[in-house]
Symmetry: C2
Amino acid sequence: MTQDDATPPRRTRRGSGAVTLHDVAKLAGVAPITASRALNTPAQVSADVRQKVADAVARTGYVPNLLAGGLASRRSRLVAAVVPTISGPVFLETVQSLTEALAHRGYQLMLGQAGYGGTREDALLEAIIGRRPDGIVLTGILHSAEGRRRLLGSGIPVVETWDLTPTPIDMLVGFSHVEVGRAVAAFLQSKGRHRFGVVAGDDERAKRRVDAFVAATRALGLPEVAVVLVPAPTTLKSGRQALARLMARPGGRDAVGGDVAAPVAATRTRRSAARRGDPAPGEPALPRDIDAVFCSSDLLALGVLTEARVMGLRVPQDLAVVGFGDLEFAADLAPALTTVHIKGAEIGRQAAQFIVDRAEGRAVDPRVIDIGFSIVEREST
Amino acid sequence: MTQDDATPPRRTRRGSGAVTLHDVAKLAGVAPITASRALNTPAQVSADVRQKVADAVARTGYVPNLLAGGLASRRSRLVAAVVPTISGPVFLETVQSLTEALAHRGYQLMLGQAGYGGTREDALLEAIIGRRPDGIVLTGILHSAEGRRRLLGSGIPVVETWDLTPTPIDMLVGFSHVEVGRAVAAFLQSKGRHRFGVVAGDDERAKRRVDAFVAATRALGLPEVAVVLVPAPTTLKSGRQALARLMARPGGRDAVGGDVAAPVAATRTRRSAARRGDPAPGEPALPRDIDAVFCSSDLLALGVLTEARVMGLRVPQDLAVVGFGDLEFAADLAPALTTVHIKGAEIGRQAAQFIVDRAEGRAVDPRVIDIGFSIVEREST
DNA sequence: GTGAAAGCGCTAACAC
DNA sequence: GTGTTAGCGCTTTCAC
């Protein structure tokens, strides 16, 4: 690939052997800068030149070196996206639409996984900043303060997504997790339910929804909520285990910790000895009191639906189930899942818009967009 | 962000204002090249210099410009991955492990979505090649011959994955879809089933599995297979609809086309008028003869399981179901799904290894790795 | 072990 | 409209 061709090696460095703008320009009989303009700002160039350059490109198979272009123009046309993990399907839609919206405008997406822990975050940020992207899209919170500082210092446009923080780093498109928690509590109450359980991942945003949900039930004068946290990213399996746990718990107000899938913590409420009811499948474990479960993801909800069926619980008669995310499968489950719909694709598009506007020198007017959410009512409630 | 600092603007171009290697070198009292070596090849530099440079970096918050480094060294430390769509969860695991394995070695992943159609492919390839990545990872087939030519011509290392083509472009890590089809047919027969249905996405690789499956059943002397194709990417919904279709079909040997979710084509077998049985939920539609369904994805299989339950069919008693992919949820469904397991993460790791080896000048010994697959037997068969 | 010079391939800034 | 010049920030090459 880095073969020198016939010319004897000199003191000077040889290129990669690839066709450069120089070659194209020579073939077209113009100066390199003119060839550059013919390709990048065709309006500035005569039709004749445009044609000659186009021909030369076609003949040589020239592909512009965007690394060089980016270095010279200080515009890399690269955008970085940071997600906790790509396997949490919630962000997938956003990443997908982001990739598409960017590609459409000639930008490319660089993907980084920060993990839910926040340990790799700094190294990741350094790698990203080093590429001088035209923008960075963050999904979820940035854990380290050092990271925030670096980002700010780099001067790179940043879009935070999937959240509504009071102090955005730069631009933001998201929604309020607190509102989601409240809205779901109110919704379930309106359906005549009042003894709630929660199954949630232990990530920042899910916990915020849960806290708001719990606070709202208290404000409504409803019984204490039983909460089971499972490690993020959430899975069908942890959903099943969590429901089993919820149903097997001794009293009515205790969240029971245990070895659900790993670190499952009991939150808010006194802790009680983990006692496992282990109802055999088919032998219905009658719910002592919980008549509705709010899950922090649709996958978790699918697990809860599955376990409920195995336990002989009828959904929605015995138990109402609400998910979060409105993943593609939610509408087609049996029973169809009631869930919180987030316009993930819209978030991606809007983030792309923000960054491209900035990169191209346009002012970004409202720097914060609350994209909202909606509860999609289906059979499971 | 591009603020000039105190110095008055001259005729010459001003930098971005960011800290450069020059600044670090000056602060450390060495030549730029020495600072460069202290960072990149510390062994070539005295401990004293190493320390001084490290201090200067810490004091200034220097982040190397990898665009400039890449241009000069002809190594971008960028790797491009091309997937049909990121939302097909099958490749997710591969992309995830690829990202991680690369990040671990100081490489960054660029993501491109080619779509299942192959229309955006050429533009995507051009954008990718323009970045001069150190490698390109392809999942699934490259449709356009022009694309192949460009790739070959670019001299960039290429790893094809998730398939075993007879004529790889460069390197490859995958498995045989033909073998999968055969193995599943043999497996189902060994379970005492013999009237098979297939529900599959209409993408290249799925079709190859289906063809092999059908051929194998013929070779085994079994009845003709009823095939329903659904558009890729596959969904739970299309799985449900496809099973309904399969069960409602008039004879026993006909694949029935129709408006399942869009272009659902009837393959191999005579076509019959699409007649919709639409059995009301709860009112079991007795399977006339199909006793096993092979699905081209686990999501499809989940749809089939769901629809079977709604129809009152017992799995596995009335109907055996086999999926493909062994997604995380497969093991925890009720009934747990028998499926074809692919080591997706291993594919990603191996691809990263290939590319990094190449980029760092090491020879890649076997350029083709057949990573195999396995049938994971669970409750659904 | 360290440095000076010369680019990597492209575009911004001025000319004309 | 087109060309000249001087870099973007780094690393290679060669010399000491």
